[in-house]
């Protein structure tokens, strides 16, 4: 029983990371109907931003304040990156065919990945320890301080996001745009600004995930965004792409199933489990758990 609980805790921690990244996918899809393939790479940039920032702020001891500064800094960097990507790569093709958008996204993703390899060097780097380490053992289940941080920070960010989307004017505007972009425009909403904010928010969350992961698994490399991005994407689809609570649910589910499969079955199928879930969802319930079907009007 304790192993099960342990796996659950591990899964929750991993799932929170996926959830943070998945939120970015789902929000962008909601407003633009675009699968932002480059999102996973933004997460990677967040991790690197955290890395360089923490090296700059090198105190003798890891501290909580320092960690906070690093995280917020990385989030800011990626928010700007997200806005830039949207403005220069996606906005010109916003009205184009789906396939064009897809290829543009792929192009941006490749650009960031290869650019990162050039700028940061292809070898992995090691994320310094940011916060004091401690382990908590509750009823036979070990919870590391990193895991605790991941879960706590993710939860906090998600709550903030939910508040933002439901209660603020900008949040409401975001929802309006995701329902119908043209109608939103006619209602006087500055859709360009809203879309930029959406990208910025999503990217900031991905950056947070990057820093959190850096704290947990200290090894970072320019291609780390690919597999994490893909799994987070599956999470978004599982929860219902375009649906914000769905992304969180999906992330937690994917994280937990991955940990369970590796723990109880075999680690060779670690990556395949996400794809398996993806296919099952799309064949059985393509709108995801919390999504809604769109019936085309004839």
């Amino acid at each position: 029983m304790t192993t099960f609980l342990q796996q659950l805790v591990n899964g929750l921690s991993l799932g929170s990371i996926y959830a943070l990244i998945a939120l970015g996918y789902t929000m962008v899809y909601g407003v633009l109907r675009l699968i932002n393939f480059a999102h996973g790479d933004v997460y990677m940039v967040g991790a690197y931003a955290g890395y360089y920032l923490s090296r700059k702020l090198k105190g003798d001891e890891p501290s909580l304040v320092g960690a906070l500064v690093v995280m917020l800094g990385a989030m800011l960097v990626c928010a700007v990156l997200g806005v830039i990507i949207e403005r220069f790569a996606y906005r010109p093709v916003r009205r184009a065919a789906r396939l064009t958008l897809l290829i543009t996204a792929i192009g941006v993703s490749l650009f960031i990945e290869n650019g990162a390899q050039l700028v940061f060097g292809p070898d992995p780097k090691f994320f310094p320890s940011l916060a004091p380490r401690a382990d908590f053992i509750v009823g036979g289940v070990r919870l590391t301080s990193e895991q605790l941080t991941v879960i706590a920070v993710s939860f906090l960010l998600m709550v903030l996001l939910r508040f933002f989307i439901l209660k603020t004017r900008t949040g409401k505007a975001m929802r309006a745009v995701s329902f119908n972009l043209d109608a939103a425009k006619l209602m006087g909403i500055s859709t360009d600004r809203i879309i930029a904010i959406t990208f910025g928010l999503g990217s900031a969350l991905a950056a947070a995930a990057g820093v959190l992961i850096g704290m947990q698994i200290p090894k970072i490399d320019p291609l780390m965004g690919i597999i994490y991005g893909l799994k987070a994407f599956v999470a978004a689809v599982l929860g219902g792409i375009g649906n914000v609570p769905g992304a969180v649910l999906g992330g937690l589910l994917i994280g937990t199933s991955e940990v369970m499969v590796v723990g109880y079955l075999s680690s060779t199928y670690r990556d395949a489990i996400a794809f398996g879930i993806l296919i099952l969802v799309l064949l059985l319930r393509p709108q995801g758990i919390l999504g809604r079907t769109h019936k085309e009007k004839v």
Partner: protein, 337 residues
């Protein structure tokens, strides 16, 4: 009759070209192995691009799992030639070695194509019910699952890769199949079946309302396309003589998509152009070493912004020549034969 004559001429030309390129025709005249490899890989790309365009460009179905079918064709044919190569060869021991090799190649390619076609059917039937983005994601998923599945089969090498295939494919065979693929897809597109596919692309609901069994057409086109990818895979395996699943990731699928988009979705000559251009670009930029991929991806984004229709859009290469001769009616002519 015309088709038969054309085929014979084509075969003769290819045989001569092949001999010329490897230096057997005119003494002292040959191209470097490097260029020959590029040429051959371009040929395989042509098969992949034209077959993918059938389902993406002409039927309008957003599929990005093509690498998976290529992988199936590659691994099935490789496994067969390694395991049964000798027995098949010995069955034809009365014939010269080249004939033995040819028969072996054709047999394993056929097997690879059939395997890929079956996979295409199994993937297509459930997936083609989905539209747009969802179909894209599901095909991406299937492509990866196929790859991971193959990776975990020890009998075909698993993570070590698979080697030991005889070199059965060369310029002649690759371009023969490339030509055959182009011819076959052209015929399909210019027939009633092809018209129906394009109608499905234009407006699937209207097509269904006009009596078309859209599912049947989509699945058939998907199966044919997958089979062709399987042939490309088999040729790939027997040219490079080594396989690893890393060659068949979603990145490979993306590459093929890029080829057909650059050339023009819905244009067969466009796909040929795109396939050749792609390899020329990736090789040509090789001298920029690390900047290569950065430049390439930037180029990609720029092309999408500036000319998303690709080089030829929906048209074929010959419409440009006809347009110069006859100043009026712009209707694209049907390819005879």
């Amino acid at each position: 009759m015309r088709a038969l004559v054309r085929s014979v001429v084509l075969v003769a030309v290819l045989v001569l070209l092949n001999a010329l390129l490897v230096g057997k025709l005119v003494p002292g005249v040959s191209i470097s192995p490097y260029f020959l490899q590029i040429l051959n890989l371009a040929g395989i790309n042509i098969i992949l691009a034209v077959s993918l365009n059938l389902i993406n460009g002409f039927t309008g179905q957003f599929s990005i799992g093509h690498a998976g079918f290529m992988a199936i064709g590659a691994y099935v044919s490789a496994f067969l030639s390694i395991t049964f190569g000798e027995s098949i060869r010995s069955a034809f021991s009365f014939a010269p070695a080249t004939v033995q090799d040819s028969v072996l190649l054709l047999v394993v390619l056929a097997a690879g194509a059939i395997a890929a076609a079956i996979a295409g059917f199994l993937v297509g039937v459930p997936s083609l019910r989905l539209r747009g983005d969802y179909l894209a994601i599901v095909t991406l998923g299937f492509g990866e699952i196929i790859r991971v599945f193959i990776l975990n089969i020890d009998a075909v090498g698993g993570a070590r890769g698979l080697g030991g295939m005889p070199r059965l494919a060369n310029f002649f065979w690759i371009y023969l199949f490339a030509a055959a693929t182009v011819a076959m897809v052209t015929r399909i597109v210019n027939s009633s079946f092809g018209r129906t596919l394009i109608a499905i692309r234009e407006d699937e609901i209207a097509a269904e309302a006009m009596g078309v069994n859209t599912t049947r057409h989509k699945v058939l086109s998907f199966v044919v396309s997958s089979a062709m990818a399987g042939v490309a895979g088999g040729l790939f395996a027997h040219y490079l003589m080594y396989l690893h699943t890393n060659s068949f990731t979603f990145i490979k699928s993306f590459e093929i998509i890029i080829m057909i988009v650059i050339g023009g979705l819905g244009s067969i000559t466009g796909s040929v152009l795109g396939a050749v251009l792609y390899i020329v670009l990736t090789e040509g930029l090789r001298e920029f070493a690390q900047y290569r991929m950065v430049l390439f991806s930037l180029l990609l984004v720029v092309i999408m912004i500036v000319r998303p229709g690709g080089i030829l859009g929906h048209r074929e290469l010959w419409t440009f020549f006809r347009r110069r001769r006859a100043a009026e009616a712009p209707a694209p002519p049907a390819v005879p034969g």
